[in-house]
């Protein structure tokens, strides 16, 4: 431990650590381009200048190890002058096309310039032009003119993905980020460079011109694309007279699970959340009122009392599974979670992606829910009604020789939906909150519950009246039901924020 004085306040920090790390950790604003916690220091942008007592000139905070008793100034006319000069240099060849730049609103260059910019050009020679729309591959578009050459993207492909597709070509003001001739940026994590890029040089082809970022609302969530359960931000916006639309997923820092990154497949999986606009409740393939279909479900359950099976998806949240299990126990309903397509051996890798594609399958053995095909077959032989919950793969049931009534509670319309007795849409992943247990046993809460305009209720809200109680929220489920489970000892709803780990 060392004590340093920053702008007159004494901080206790780790000796030998990089100055910028500790300053940022203490919420002290240090402008920086090239430094990134996941990529380390590079010292090329010179933006993080601070004054250190005893040193002749301002020093870069990203490459200064902390020593006991350092006295540091991050503000003041002198340091502002230095920053202003650096920004002036960065902007010499910058096209200043913020009106058409997707980064505008979350651009470091823009923000720093607002703070200490010169606001007056002293340039008398023409700007060096670069290419404006270079398709690097993997949904990444490069604008060479906007680049500040911080090389974060280069270091990401070199150190993190170890694919080294990107490099810096040419010298001086002709320097540009580029791929090798004939090669493209192609790795399953490539779109992270868009988030890494502090300016608008690398933008996502998927998000390009879709929405200005200041309109977006960010909600914290968990990605459900594979069993890793990466922490994400869901950026959504409701335009006037239009439906709530999700525009992008962004990685959210979680040291225990995904760090600063997510995979491209998970990032683009938000598309499926926008696709349920035309999904209505169906009774024998015909569109029905939602409330009527809800009543129909209850009538079906009553009619086939004791001769019903629930076949649930392993993507249901922990809370939903517990509630479904409670209902199954109460009315002696067979409960199974057999899923033939749960594992995808072509998906996983050694970084974040994994072959297990279910968001919450770890909870099934913990709660004692059966996943075997034999038990499902045995149940199918004696029941008259199968309710698929959170899934719509009725063909799996049919292939097993089952021919009687099928009801589906799912969030996405599939082909099979037209052929069954009842389809009741439920709120999709980002439209309801829930907790998930990831591959390594970390329990996480996805708090993102974007209001559904189509009146699609959450599964918890559908189950509450059937169970005859008023437990609608995850917190209530934790307090009323999950409290009893031995495996979740020491884990409470409030402690989910810290991502607790349980033994699997």
């Amino acid at each position: 431990m060392a004590h340093i004085t920053v702008d007159g306040t004494v901080l206790e920090v780790k000796e030998g650590a990089l100055l910028i790390e500790e300053l940022l950790a203490n919420n002290i604003n240090i402008p920086h381009f090239c430094y990134h916690p996941a990529l380390g220091k590079d010292g090329n942008c010179r933006m993080c200048m601070v004054e250190i007592e005893g040193q002749k000139r301002p020093q870069i905070a990203c490459d200064t190890p902390i020593k006991e008793g350092m006295i540091i100034r991050t503000k003041g006319a002198n340091i502002d002058r230095v920053k202003r000069s650096i920004l002036e240099l960065e902007l010499i060849n910058h096209p200043i096309d913020c009106p058409i730049c997707d980064q505008a609103g979350e651009c470091s260059l823009q923000n720093y310039y607002m703070d200490v910019g010169l606001y007056e050009s002293r340039l008398s020679t023409p700007k060096t032009r670069g290419e404006k729309h270079v398709d690097l591959g993997a949904n990444v578009v490069l604008d060479q003119e906007r680049c500040v050459l911080c090389t974060r993207c280069v270091r990401f492909t070199k150190n993190i993905t170890k694919t080294s597709e990107l490099g810096v070509l040419s010298r001086a003001d002709h320097s540009v980020i580029t791929t090798f001739p004939g090669a493209k940026l192609s790795n399953p994590y490539a779109m992270n460079v868009v988030d890494l890029c502090p300016v608008g040089a690398l933008t996502s082809k998927d998000f390009r011109f879709q929405k200005r970022v200041w309109f977006l609302n960010a909600k914290e969530a968990i990605c459900d694309h594979c069993a890793r359960g990466c922490s994400i931000f869901v950026d959504h916006h409701k335009e006037k007279y239009k439906d709530e639309v999700i525009y992008r997923y962004r990685p959210r820092l979680n040291d225990k699970i995904n760090g600063y990154f997510i995979c491209d497949a998970g990032r683009l999986s938000y598309h499926k959340e926008n696709e349920n606009k035309e999904f209505h409740a169906l009774i024998r393939g015909k569109i029905s009122e939602y409330e009527y279909a809800e009543g129909k479900l209850l009538r079906l359950l009553k009619r086939h009392l004791g001769k019903t099976a629930f076949v649930i998806s392993s993507n249901l949240s922990l809370e939903e599974m517990v509630r479904v299990q409670k209902l199954a126990k109460l009315y002696e309903i067979a409960l199974n979670a057999y899923e033939p397509e749960r594992f995808d051996t072509s998906f996983g890798d050694d970084f974040l992606k994994c072959n297990d594609r279910s968001a919450n399958a770890r909870a099934l053995p913990l709660l004692g829910i059966d996943t075997s095909k034999e038990m499902l077959q045995e149940a199918l032989n004696r029941v008259e009604l199968v309710v698929l919950i959170g899934r719509s793969d009725a063909n799996v049931i049919k292939e097993m020789g089952y021919t009687q009534n099928i009801a589906i509670l799912c969030s996405r319309c599939e082909v099979t939906c037209k052929e069954v007795e009842l389809v009741l849409p439920i709120a999709s992943h980002t439209r309801r909150e829930g907790s998930f247990i990831n591959l390594d046993g970390y329990v996480q809460h996805s708090a993102c519950a974007i209001q559904s305009e189509h009146g699609h209720k959450t599964l918890l809200a559908i189950l509450a009246p059937i169970l005859g109680d008023t437990i609608f929220t995850c917190k209530e489920v934790w307090e009323a039901e999950l409290f009893f489970y031995e495996v979740l000892k020491g884990v409470s709803f409030d402690s989910l924020k810290t991502t607790p780990k349980i033994a699997l």
């Binding site: 009106p99 058409i100 505008a104 404006k132 011109f209 200005r212 200041w214 335009e239 006037k240």
Partner: protein, 164 residues
């Protein structure tokens, strides 16, 4: 706190009679009538709509128009600054890629709902490209149904600057 005592008026006999005040008022009215009868052209009215107003100044905020570049194409780059600044939220923009080499981005849809618009001019102030102006001089806009008042990109581009 200081209290100011205001004298109460209307308690004198002259004021309670009302008639002197009425005659005083009628005097002004009658004098205007007589002046106008003797000098008709000085009356400050026009035969609208046959006669159009001639005092629409250069700064008058009329119906919006989208300006064009030198090559006649739309100047707007769909940066959404106008829609962001708009207090009535009456500007609806959809952006798209522009492939003609002039610029990278342009509006696919640019609608202004004149029934929602409060004609404050914030959009004009906000525009970084001088792409939207309110100098068309159109002060009266007529439509038969609500949808007629939603001006599309094409209609806005067709509006011309009012010539002095």
């Amino acid at each position: 706190m200081g209290i100011k005592i205001v004298p109460r008026h209307g308690n004198t006999l002259k004021e309670k009679l009302y008639l002197p005040a009425i005659f005083g008022g009628m005097k002004t009215t009658l004098s205007h009538l007589i002046t106008n009868l003797s000098d008709t052209p000085e009356i400050k009215t026009i035969n609208y709509p046959e006669e159009q107003p001639h005092d629409i100044s250069e700064r008058y905020r009329g119906v919006h128009r989208l300006t064009k570049r030198d090559d006649g194409s739309v100047r707007c780059v769909a940066c959404f600054m106008c829609a962001t600044a708009c207090p009535a939220e009456c500007i609806f923009i959809e952006a798209e890629e522009r492939n003609d080499g002039v610029d990278e981005k342009m509006p696919k849809r640019f609608d202004i709902d004149l029934l929602e618009c409060v004609f404050c001019g914030a959009c004009v102030e906000a525009c970084p490209c001088d792409a939207i102006r309110m100098d068309s001089g159109i002060f009266s806009f007529i439509g038969k149904k609500r949808e007629d008042f939603v001006l599309s990109k094409e209609q806005l581009l067709a509006n011309e600057e009012k010539k002095a």
